[in-house]
Symmetry: C2
Subunit: 345 residues, 2 copies
Amino acid sequence: MTSSQSQRRRAPTIFDVAAEAGVSKSTVSNVLQGKVPVLAVTRQRVLDAMDQLGYEPNAGARYMRQRSRILGVVVGDLQNPFYAELAAEIEESAAKRNHTILLATTGDVPEREVERVRTLVQHRVAAMIFLCIPGKAALRAVGGDVPSLFAAVPMRDELSIAVDSRAAAELAVSHLVELGHTAIGFVSVTLHEPPTETVRFDGYRRAIQQAGLKVGASRVLRADGRGPHLSAYQAELKAFLSRKRRPTAIVAATDFDALEVISAADALGMRVPSDLSVVGFDNISLAGHSRISLTTISQPLAEIAKLAVDAAIDGTPHKRRRAARSIKLRPELIVRASTGPVRLG
Amino acid sequence: MTSSQSQRRRAPTIFDVAAEAGVSKSTVSNVLQGKVPVLAVTRQRVLDAMDQLGYEPNAGARYMRQRSRILGVVVGDLQNPFYAELAAEIEESAAKRNHTILLATTGDVPEREVERVRTLVQHRVAAMIFLCIPGKAALRAVGGDVPSLFAAVPMRDELSIAVDSRAAAELAVSHLVELGHTAIGFVSVTLHEPPTETVRFDGYRRAIQQAGLKVGASRVLRADGRGPHLSAYQAELKAFLSRKRRPTAIVAATDFDALEVISAADALGMRVPSDLSVVGFDNISLAGHSRISLTTISQPLAEIAKLAVDAAIDGTPHKRRRAARSIKLRPELIVRASTGPVRLG
DNA sequence: TTGTATGCGTTATCAT
DNA sequence: ATGATAACGCATACAA
């Protein structure tokens, strides 16, 4: 309205506002900060001048004197609905606390990780929230000056806010045991993050042993593979499900994996859950769809996001205590139609 | 390793580097910029000093003199896999061009839009990429100084990079016509963005007329509703599908809507595609899952992302020509198992 | 309550 | 090829 000119003018500064309002820059700054009392009329004049000129403070310049209000968010795979949803929640929580997020995706490629982390550091983010497990180099690139924490991923010796994956696995396994299953397998084919995968497998293993069952190698399929070779996964999965001593129930490392398992079962003409029970992990929103109806472990997304943002903003006093301040949240089992009693015979 | 101290030190500056290398700040800046020639040995000394100190340039300070390398990305609904995937692609394209993205989600709430846009403006983003249709107020908040464009959403009179939705609708309709359908309906229940919804419905309507068919009011279900009242949607959908003169095929405004339609059909015991054919829109990654296998319209995500980022960075010379420079991409029909020949009778 | 002076980290202009 | 210096927009300590 005011200015349809396309020549990009210099944005109005605090100085312009001061001139327009007939006061000094300090006064403008004072009404901006709200710390120092300013006469009501003066204040109003400044405010008027501001939206007269369409003034917006320059965050970059501000951050040279103040703590930045940007949070760096590093996500491995934003294509995965779980991380996308989590990122959305984090953004919202951050906004509630007047912070913005600088988003970086790495595709879990080590070299890219370092590059992206460095970019975030250069922008002097107040803190770094990882939605992935970065490599050593990336972690080093963060440096000791910017606090970082890990959301929804397990990270030993660091501040991490995640679900207790052992408890989660126990939930899944005991649910299956209650349904009469004894041949309970584990599948992870699409999870690019070794540590997360390991923790979940470990939880599965412990839960199995705790239930007095055995962890048969023939019931476990773990692909350390790179890249999403969907067709290859399917081939492996079909072979896996066709084995003689195949499991009657499967704990999948993620809902994505569970979906792949279901696809393979469908292709083999196996029925879920009567021929094969499947439990997922993450409770992505599509897990509840009638065509999927996946029994799965749910993580309290909003809570994780809020805690992560709060911790990122409020900081962790002593580095050494980071791990100690880690938070393990309680997972929840969502029972849907992908699990059922074991078929006798 | 180097510094395990938790007291947050002042990050090393260009000045510190200069001191360490025994040169002036100007020289350091020169090697940083690479524009002015610097003696090889000096250059190396500076470089050494840099990673000795773990120096990273302060992007905020830099942006006070140079154009910022931040792109503001405003997305309405990041929970929607389509937008999450698009955001990921945009981030990647931006990174390739040494840019970072500041992400804001609005949940399509007008007041939040303005607030978020203002935050982005305050960070002096080089450009704004909208993955939603902002309200007037938000658009005004952008101001005339920061170029903005629209990716994957239709926006009249503005620079937009999206699929030709009329062509898309034609693709869907003619596919169904070829299968013998004449009672082809339209459903949109979860799309929060009126303009996008309107454009897609309009495309549907034109395509129907072009095919010599009629647009019966009884075959159209458009919910302008707010918020995701999934159960309510389901009730509406079931009632819709139970009508006497119900359609034999449905064009859904989004894959999400298509999934809801399928759920409703499942609940009513209707078979897809023998009782009801369904075409979606967006080709989200889960549309290809064996349990869904949704015939849908695909948008070239990566291409949209690249074009959007390039346009955002390289800019549009004259504001008036923005609309003229808009790009309409060709949609593609992905035929899967949710569509089939009309059942005779 | 308001104004003045200085510093923040960097780039850019001008000397040398 | 390198160094001194003035912006850049804002916050802050201090003076008035």
